[in-house]
């Protein structure tokens, strides 16, 4: 049962730096390359500080899971990784997020160029009210690809990658809105893959799906890992253990004096370590189910 109130960690002061944030130990753990490097990232919605001082690194060809109770800011952090929060009026970010060495929030950076490389799959499947074919071809088209043969190839390749080709190959001209929830979500994944991104961000991609569809998407994520870097927000801890290489546990921190709440990163490490040998008592309480 979800009992978010119990998840609120009380503290009279916001932490300066929450936990020693050296993800993993390089000696036993040699990731390919760092894709994201966040340093002391705080996210605000107008004056509300949703997330405070998050620092973590995300590595190439890994699946990184963000877990934690509702309101802990995991989706907010995810959305800062491709500047999706720019679209929310009043949202701004402090601190630095480096993507392959470049500061994402530098004033010369175009959010369009960022999102072209860092795609996103949303909680609720959001196919466009267009045909299945046009849904997939949308991304390549806005990036200037209008060659019919090339588009056909991209559509087939993307649908195959998303394990949807066999189910829809005979009705590519049908509306994308006619698909079932699981199919629609795989369509959205295929649409994201069609622009050949470097990173795929997934915001609770299975929360609207049944266990069979969820299984299909998880298999898909494991396949995609070879080619892409994936960051997933999930409320489902089994899902995090099933698919992810690394897990970041976020929690809510309440300042009793000012009665404000903010999300913090409590612990980040290899998934086995987070679930079997958590170093923070809050992580332990959460992953063992004593909270939430």
């Amino acid at each position: 049962m979800d009992q978010p109130e119990q998840n609120v960690v009380t503290n009279t002061q916001l932490p300066k730096s929450q936990v020693e944030m050296t993800p993993g130990t390089p000696a036993v753990d040699t990731p390919d390359a760092t894709v994201f490097d966040a340093q002391k990232v705080s996210c605000y919605y107008s004056s509300f500080r949703a997330v405070t001082d998050v620092s973590l690194s995300i590595y190439e060809h890994e699946i990184t899971a963000f877990i934690g109770p509702s309101g802990c800011g995991k989706t907010t952090v995810l959305r800062t990784l491709n500047r999706m929060n720019d679209l929310v009026p009043g949202a701004h970010v402090e601190g630095d997020v480096k993507y392959r060495g470049a500061s994402l929030y530098h004033k010369d950076v175009s959010p369009i160029a960022v999102r072209r490389r860092i795609g996103m799959v949303f909680q609720k499947p959001n196919p466009f009210p267009k045909s299945i074919y046009d849904n997939i071809a949308y991304g390549p088209r806005i990036n200037g690809q209008h060659n019919k043969g090339k588009l056909d190839e991209i559509v087939e390749r993307s649908l195959r990658q998303a394990a949807l080709w066999d189910e829809v190959k005979d009705r590519l001209k049908a509306s994308g809105l006619g698909l079932s929830g699981g199919q629609a979500q795989r369509l959205c994944i295929a649409r994201t893959l069609a622009v050949e991104p470097d990173v795929v961000l997934m915001d609770e991609p299975c929360s609207a799906l049944d266990p069979i569809a969820t299984g299909a998407i998880e298999d898909l994520m494991r396949d995609l890992k070879a080619k892409y870097t994936i960051v997933i927000v999930t409320h489902n801890m089994q899902q995090a253990t099933r698919v992810s290489d690394r897990t970041a546990f976020y929690s809510v921190l309440r300042n009793e004096k000012s009665d404000t709440r903010t999300g913090v990163l409590v612990e980040y490490g290899r998934t086995e370590q987070i679930f079997q040998d958590p170093r923070d008592s809050r992580t332990q309480a959460y992953v063992t189910g004593r909270m939430g």
């Binding site: 999706m84 949303f122 991304g139 809105l177």
Partner: protein, 297 residues
């Protein structure tokens, strides 16, 4: 579930009492209101068809000039007025619909909560309530006194009338487009203009088109804005950009106030013609909406 022996069966019938009575009273009131609304509509249609149908013929719709009021009913036709209505309304549509749609796109997609968008939205709503004859006087004072009467001036006046309707209906349709669709497009690296052109407008196009056609039908039936802008003439004027013109509503106005039965009969014919034109536009609106909404189910 099986009923346990000896257990009293649950009574699932509707409970008697005030709740049931009030439910029935309100239902009866709603049905009455619906019928009351239908009665005037039915009378208008039946009367117009009864009095106008006999005079309508191909030559009534196409021939001109419009005969003098004293002429008997079987002489001449409303051709110039049909032509004038079609060309003036079409020109007004070309002027007002694109501008209105772009205005609504600005209000909903670009303006957000800034003061300019708030101001435009407010005055657009105020404009909806401005009496149509004021639009005619406005165009008369800024255009007609300098350039004379013309179909174009009439189109300006009708356009002023249509603009706030198009802005409001388009704005409401754009608001209905879920934000998740915009985000899906942004996440693929689309610019704001792309998102608007390729996702938001196509998703809302059905509603936008039907809103625009409703505005067109409204404008086609207006007399007041045309009184001071096109004058009312009897001869056909195919040149919409210069010279006085005429329209069906204007002719209905003239003929209905005439004492001659021939003129009155032609007025009924013109009224039926106008209703038919609006009816056809509505049907086209429905078909177009259905056509564009193909992918939204």
């Amino acid at each position: 579930m099986a009923v346990v022996a000896g257990q009293q069966q649950v009574d699932l019938r509707e409970a008697k009492g005030w709740r049931r009575t009030s439910n029935r009273i309100v239902t009866a009131l709603m049905v009455t209101a619906f019928v009351v609304v239908l009665i005037p509509l039915g009378f208008v249609l039946v009367t117009t068809i009864a009095k106008g149908a006999s005079i309508i013929s191909w030559s009534f719709l196409t021939s001109g000039p419009i005969p003098a009021n004293v002429a008997p009913a079987n002489v001449g036709g409303m051709g110039p007025a049909v032509l004038g209505t079609i060309e003036i309304t079409a020109l007004a549509t070309v002027l007002a619909v694109p501008l209105g749609i772009l205005g609504a796109v600005y209000l909903n997609e670009y303006g957000g909560k800034n003061w300019l968008a708030a101001l435009i939205g407010f005055f657009s709503d105020v404009m909806t309530g401005v009496p149509s004859i004021i639009m005619g006087l406005f165009i008369f004072s800024i255009w007609v006194v300098h350039f004379g009467f013309s179909g174009l001036a009439g189109a300006f006046a009708l356009g002023c009338l249509m603009l706030p309707i198009v802005i409001r209906s388009t704005y409401e349709m754009l608001r209905l487009v879920p934000n998740t669709l915009r985000e899906g497009s942004y996440a693929l690296g689309a610019s704001k203009a792309r998102v608007t052109m390729t996702v938001v407008l196509p998703a809302a196009i059905g509603g936008i088109v039907s809103g625009a056609l409703l505005a067109v039908a409204r404008a086609a039936g207006e007399t007041a804005p045309l009184l001071f802008t096109i004058l009312i003439v009897t001869a056909a004027n195919p040149n919409v950009f210069s010279g006085a013109n005429t329209s069906l509503p204007s002719q209905i106005f003239v003929n209905a106030s005439s004492p001659y039965t021939g003129a009155q009969d032609r007025g009924w014919g013109a009224a039926l013609t106008l209703i038919a034109i609006c009816f056809i536009l509505m049907i086209v609106a429905r078909l177009v909406t259905a056509r564009f909404a193909r992918y939204s189910r």
